[in-house]
Symmetry: C2
Subunit: 241 residues, 2 copies
């Protein structure tokens, strides 16, 4: 594989972030538990976190379908959170506390290999986010976690949520490269398939515990991606960085 | 001034780049001279550089007025360069050489205080570009020069050239802050006045040789900006970084 990879004319790596670069589930569960202890809430934070994330694709779909006008992910997260708090009968959080909880997505921890791997990859490639997360979310996350992006792009500047083709194509256009000079790095087969359909190169990074110990999907690369890696450090090895 | 500045609720610094952060004129003259020697061209590169930059605002104005659809600065630079090469009777450059010359804007050197000053400012604030330069230009420049941006924003993601209000407002919106939480840092009175009209805070950084030794404009702050600084290091001092 290494020889083939070296023959590619890739200039930029575009990263999915939630699950691929950061461990959203553990981060939210941990903060939720701390909040629960501080406020005396009786909440199953694993179930709460999974339920919150389960509302993610349906919320994006409202924007993709046109049922909602363009809405930032922070605001979609907040709509889902308000619904979940009401359905779970969680009261006792003030307005500032709910808003702080909603912004837990700005405070997600990277997987341990992410910062070392990205730091090596950045020597050779332009590194950009290609996430459905909004710019402020990505910037705040990067500043806190030390993620060394060259550019924070993705759905909000493209005004289009993945997996719609324009999300990928507009990101490559912002970076001034052709789609085939851009490699999507993601832990999700569907995201990579959508990117490859518009001409992107693809790198699958395996994250078998993104959804917790019982994860059943995206456990392995299900298509012929250009690179398959076990971590960002492994990706750096395989891309010759 | 220091006390007043500390009372401000500024979260993000948005930077004009050409002239404010990088010394475009010296950089282009130097590269032009090297090219001229290598190719045996008899060109006054100071005059050539000034003439190229003189076509900048008229080109932007074509987009602002709607005479041209949205066009990236790289492409506007190229239209001006092609015209200038023809008018100057400069021949003997191949297609790849002309394109490389056009991308000299991606290879501008920072003023000596820029990297040290930005590095200090970044500890306290989110740092974003708010330039009329396109994203790829800004990303390539930053990677070469070591400019530590948290986000590369400005005209292209906003799809609007300064000094139109939306260029500033959409940048603040991407950063998730209110206009008054955003401070434009620029060496140009007009840019700062336009930003302040939409509610931005303002910092004037004096660059008295941007246009060469005979510079006549923007030699000093002509309005009551929130901060006036002699360099990015001085700005870091004045913002308590």
């Amino acid at each position: 594989m290494t020889v083939a990879v070296r023959d590619l004319d890739v200039k930029a790596l575009a990263f999915d972030v939630f699950g691929t670069v950061v461990d959203w589930r553990s981060s939210i569960i941990r903060e939720g538990r701390e909040l629960g202890r501080a406020k005396g809430l009786d909440v199953d934070w694993e179930a709460f976190t999974d339920a919150w994330r389960a509302l993610y694709q349906p919320a994006l779909e409202k924007v993709r379908s046109g049922a909602l006008p363009w809405t930032k992910l922070d605001d979609l997260h907040r709509m889902s959170l308000d619904r979940l708090l009401a359905e779970s009968g969680i009261t006792g959080l003030g307005a500032a506390e709910v808003e702080h909880l909603n912004r837990v997505w700005h405070r997600l921890d990277p997987w341990p290999d992410s910062v070392p791997g990205l730091t090596r990859l950045r020597r050779k490639f332009v590194l950009a986010t290609l996430s459905n997360g909004n710019v402020a979310l990505m910037v705040n996350m990067a500043k806190r976690a030390g993620l060394p992006w060259d550019a924070v792009l993705g759905a909000e500047p493209a005004r289009c949520y993945k997996p719609q083709p324009e999300a990928y194509l507009r990101t490559a256009d912002f970076l001034g490269v052709r789609p085939e000079q851009c490699m999507l790095v993601a832990a999700h087969n569907g995201d990579l398939v959508a990117a490859s359909r518009v001409g992107f190169r693809t790198a699958f990074v395996r994250r078998p515990t993104e959804h917790g110990p019982g994860q059943t999907r995206d456990l392995r690369a299900e298509h012929a991606f250009d690179v398959v890696a076990e971590s960002m450090v492994d990706l750096a090895d395989k891309l010759g960085c």
